[in-house]
Symmetry: C2
Subunit: 307 residues, 2 copies
């Protein structure tokens, strides 16, 4: 089976939305990426770190979803990364209440021999130097390296970030981050600039407004599914990335045309994540629900303009 | 030929954008609707009012675009409606600098016998009582009545507005207006509520984020074309409405499926309007450019997800 290597946080989240609030629940970019990628028939390995407070049941949950967790280091005397946030009524803006880096502060990922020869490498949002060190450790370059990042790293480590960006094939960021990184307001102009920084492909995530895929010649637009209720957006972007990478790992076709399908797969999976708190929905998804949702996306944008 | 009856302002605009500014140029909802509808092989008639200051050349321009202007009343001793606005750097927000209603203040549209038997009636953004009076004057109800409106009328004449809305087939508003009218944040929930107010179809315009078409069972999403440069957004919504109505008038098919094509036609035409000031681009559009742009929309959302 084809191999996906995921590097990303495995963490605790505490979330408050207009619909309710949670205690510490399972979260983290790597977690959502792994659970989303589990919807494809591939080998997923995850490199991450947690503390002694991380429950065995969460590790089991990931194993049950065919995610190899032998790359998750457990630092018994330390605490797991914890993020807490509160969404405003529009669900588009959130305030961070707490960020406790804990084990993540000195996260130094090691790519063991067993994790070499990945077909696809997905670098979840982490410090760009951490992301870069993983790329350096790969003895054979993966066929595709996908990288997520955020405005935080643009603010404090722009030069390191640009160095890491120069080494990857696909960069995923949101619209505001694309504007910040490029200094261009128009997303088309922003994409043209960012594509000169190294990546062959750029995905701009626009949340409820969908996502854009760019290469130097082409643009593809994937809508978001209009939902009656967005219950909790946490993890939607990581679920999207996991679905995108899972689909590409499985199909082993890294053309622009196949990336379109990968984006639809990622968008469909993300549309489930937002229906419940945390990983609750995505960890209990059956194949038919997923196929039906893909069909919803096909129908949503389908038209036959007469010649 | 099938007949489209347009009711809407014919006016002067003065526009300032980050790219430059204009003196008083041709503007008005009815103008953009008429020029957009002219791209289809139909009879367009427009009911409007201008002052003695309105240049003959603008009337000629509309005639040259096959818009019958015998329904434009000229009040020699009065002045034409004038709007002036300035767009901010993001091009999404604009400040109104001046609104001089002038002839529009007492606009009392008359539907002459020659204008009866329209297949489609397009009510551009005007006072809801003015819109309503046109509907009342139609001896035979048009096959389709489309209505545009704005938040201003929700603020000051909500009850009249709801009365007019109850009489039309298609309502077009933007996302913020849909939220205001329904009291729902989710656009899906908003649409469900608005569709109980009378219209069979609702179009929610999201500007650079595209447009949604709803009926009680279906949703269609049309993207906006990602543009490197938006030069002047003035008239984009009216161009969209004109393309939508022109397409439907021509094809004489008022099903959900055909409305999807009408929305693509409207979106394609609107994507030209924003490329230059005012009507400059849309009044100089050739058929091949239009067809090519339709193809851009087809390509933009095209994907073939494997079964």
């Amino acid at each position: 089976m084809n191999k996906l290597l995921i590097v990303g946080s495995v963490a605790f989240d505490a979330i408050e939305t207009p619909f309710g609030k949670t205690d510490k629940i399972l979260g983290g970019a790597g977690t959502f990426i792994g659970l989303a990628a589990a919807n494809f028939d591939i080998n997923s390995n995850i490199i991450s770190v947690v503390g002694g407070d991380f429950p065995e049941k969460y590790l089991k949950l990931m194993q049950n979803h065919k995610v190899d967790i032998s790359g998750i280091e457990i630092k018994k005397d330390e605490k797991t990364f914890f993020w807490s946030g509160k969404y405003r009524n529009d669900m588009n803006t959130r305030d961070t209440i707490a960020t406790e880096l804990n084990v993540l502060e000195k996260f130094d990922p090691k790519v063991s021999d067993a994790y070499q020869e990945a077909d696809v490498l997905m670098l979840g949002n982490l410090s760009p130097t951490v992301q870069s060190s993983v790329i350096e450790q790969m003895k054979v370059r993966p066929k595709l390296i996908v990288m997520d990042t955020m405005n935080f790293w643009m603010d404090i480590m722009l030069s390191d970030l640009k160095n890491t960006i120069s080494k990857v094939d696909v960069l995923t960021i949101n619209d505001e981050e694309a504007r910040q990184l490029s200094g261009e307001y128009s997303l088309v102009a922003a994409a043209q600039k960012i594509l000169t920084m190294g990546p062959k492909y750029l995905i701009i995530k626009k949340g409820e407004h969908g996502a854009l895929l760019f290469d130097k010649e082409n643009i593809f637009f994937a809508p978001a599914l209009p939902l009656k209720e967005v219950f909790d957006p946490t993890g939607a972007g990581d679920t999207f990335a996991g679905g995108f990478c899972g689909y590409l790992t499985k199909t082993n076709d890294f053309t622009f045309n196949n990336m379109k399908n990968a984006i639809i797969a990622g968008s469909a999976l993300a549309s489930f994540t937002v229906e419940k708190f945390g990983t609750e929905r995505i960890q209990n998804l059956d194949k038919n629900e997923f196929y039906d949702r893909i069909q919803d996306f096909i129908n949503l944008v389908d038209f036959q303009y007469p010649k």
